[in-house]
Amino acid sequence: MTALLEVENLRVAYGKIEAVKGISFSVEAGQVVTLIGTNGAGKTTTLRTLSGLLKPIGGRIVFDGKQLSRMPPHKIVSLGLAHSPEGRHIFPRLTIEQNLQLGAYLRKDSAGIAKDIARAYELFPILGERRRQAAGTLSGGEQQMLAMGRALMCQPKLLMLDEPSMGLSPIMMQKIMATIVELKSQGTTILLVEQNAQAALSLADQAHVMEVGSIKISGTGQDLLHDEGVRKTYLGED
């Protein structure tokens, strides 16, 4: 069986500076795969390239049997690759419900859309309570819930989450991580980028450590959680 997402020797540059220097990894359907690493390692750049916001200078991206590297973002979304971006990027002056509807922009089945909006409110009850409120009025954690709910609205085959726990209180972070576990148990395929390595590794099937544009270590989440080098550098142990 071929993987849902296959990344081969991907290279991305900003001008002359290469931010991603030839990385390869794959995501199988049903898996949670995580990319961890410090700031500037190239994780976000990788996700932005997968969703088409950045153009690679080399390598191949094959998603669900199709080449992505030259496709515009809206075409990539239509193939079932959803991206919840770093910093959440909800539409602040639209209501919560309008944000969710935008997540389903490419869908035509209004009954199905209504059902999925109801499901998002079930997953995140606070969003349902505030559905008519401008999204900009939500707290950081609530905005993260909205960004995840919105990404799920396109019924993705693969959900990419970029730093979902960034800037959140420990309680809110736990909630978000619990939601990812729940999505995983429902069979959602997830590519997760996180700085909170402990949390990401403990729920990942497959994990890759990125350093300055390259993948340094790969393994299962449990392997890396117990890897001495990883523990020292990323889990803050001596």
Binding site: P73, A82, F91, L94
Partner: protein
């Protein structure tokens, strides 16, 4: 002639014209943060498009039959030029430093003016615009020409249609999303290039309506009418809060009323008798802009830049 109701009416008429043109500045700015300084020329070419259709219509055709054809002609010309400018001149520069598209816009503005000047010298080769029949109408102490009524009604109808489109249609929602966060809009599956083209096309259509209305109001049009009208409409867009479509219309109306009242009343103020009259219009328009921007840098209905993040 110099009663206050008359001045307010004149201001509303002038302001409707500014507002129609200002929509084009504000929609394009709201979505791509570009000041399309060639937009005044899009208004001008719309007027010439309408006039060209009119000069080729058979003699004796009723004005009411001619009007829709003239509007269609003007709209086709304005929209094609607006969309063509986006596609050929601005899109290749989308990620260039801000100064590049700005200078391109100024160059495009000059090129369009000169092209019309050479092709249609001083607008004297054909007929002038027709006069709408009826009028002047007397409402109390206010005199209004039928061309003015056309202008105000057209502005109200266009504005209401645009507001409904942006608020209720799927494409309108995609426009709001693109204006607030273009990258994320793409992640929703929105083809933002298409949205940008639509914004330029709507601006072009509104400019063509203003061009037709201005021809009907003044009879004569010239190749250089876009410069001053464009400058005033841009002022209106900034005054109302650039990026906000209601602000563009409001800014237009405020500017129009301020101009007509200033030219009528400023000279009555002791010691300022030389500062009134029509030739000072533009001065007072910009004084108003400066004063408003000192108090509200984001314009009347604009949102603070921080809200965009």
């Amino acid at each position: 002639m110099h009663t206050l109701p008359q001045q307010l009416a004149n201001g509303l008429i002038l302001g409707s014209m500014y507002g129609l043109i200002a929509i084009g500045y504000t929609m394009v700015y709201g979505i791509v943060q570009l000041i399309n300084f060639a937009h005044g020329e899009i208004y001008m070419t719309g007027a010439f498009g309408a006039l060209t259709v009119y000069t080729n219509l058979p003699d004796g055709m009723s004005i009411w039959a001619a009007l829709p054809l003239m509007l269609a002609g003007g709209a086709v010309v304005s929209m094609l030029i607006a969309v063509g400018a986006e596609r050929l001149a601005y899109r290749p520069l989308r990620h260039a430093p801000r100064l590049a598209p700005l200078i391109t816009a100024i160059g495009l503005s000059l090129a369009l003016q000169q092209a019309v000047f050479l092709w249609y010298p001083n607008a004297t080769s054909g007929k002038t615009f027709p006069q709408l029949p009826g009028g002047p109408f007397h409402i109390g102490s206010v005199d209004i020409q039928s061309g003015d009524i056309f202008l105000v009604v057209a502005a109200v109808v266009c504005m209401a249609a645009l507001a409904a489109f942006v608020r209720t249609s799927r494409t309108g929602r995609a426009m709001q999303a693109t204006a607030q966060d273009p990258d994320t809009a793409q992640l929703m599956g929105i083809d933002t290039n298409r949205i940008i083209v639509i914004a330029f096309a709507i601006g072009g259509f509104f400019a063509a309506v203003a061009g037709l209305a201005s021809g009907l109001k003044y009879g004569q049009i010239k190749y250089d009418i876009g410069f001053q009208a464009g400058l005033k409409a841009f002022t209106a867009a900034v005054l109302g809060g650039i990026g906000n479509i209601y602000g563009a219309m409001l800014g237009g109306l405020v500017l129009g009323i301020a101009e007509s009242c200033a030219s009528a009343y400023i000279s009555n103020i002791p010691g300022m008798d030389k500062l009134g009259g029509g030739s000072w219009n533009t001065v007072w328009a910009f004084v108003l802009l400066i004063v408003v921007l000192l108090v509200r840098p984001q314009g009347l209905l604009g949102e603070r830049v921080a809200d965009r993040a």
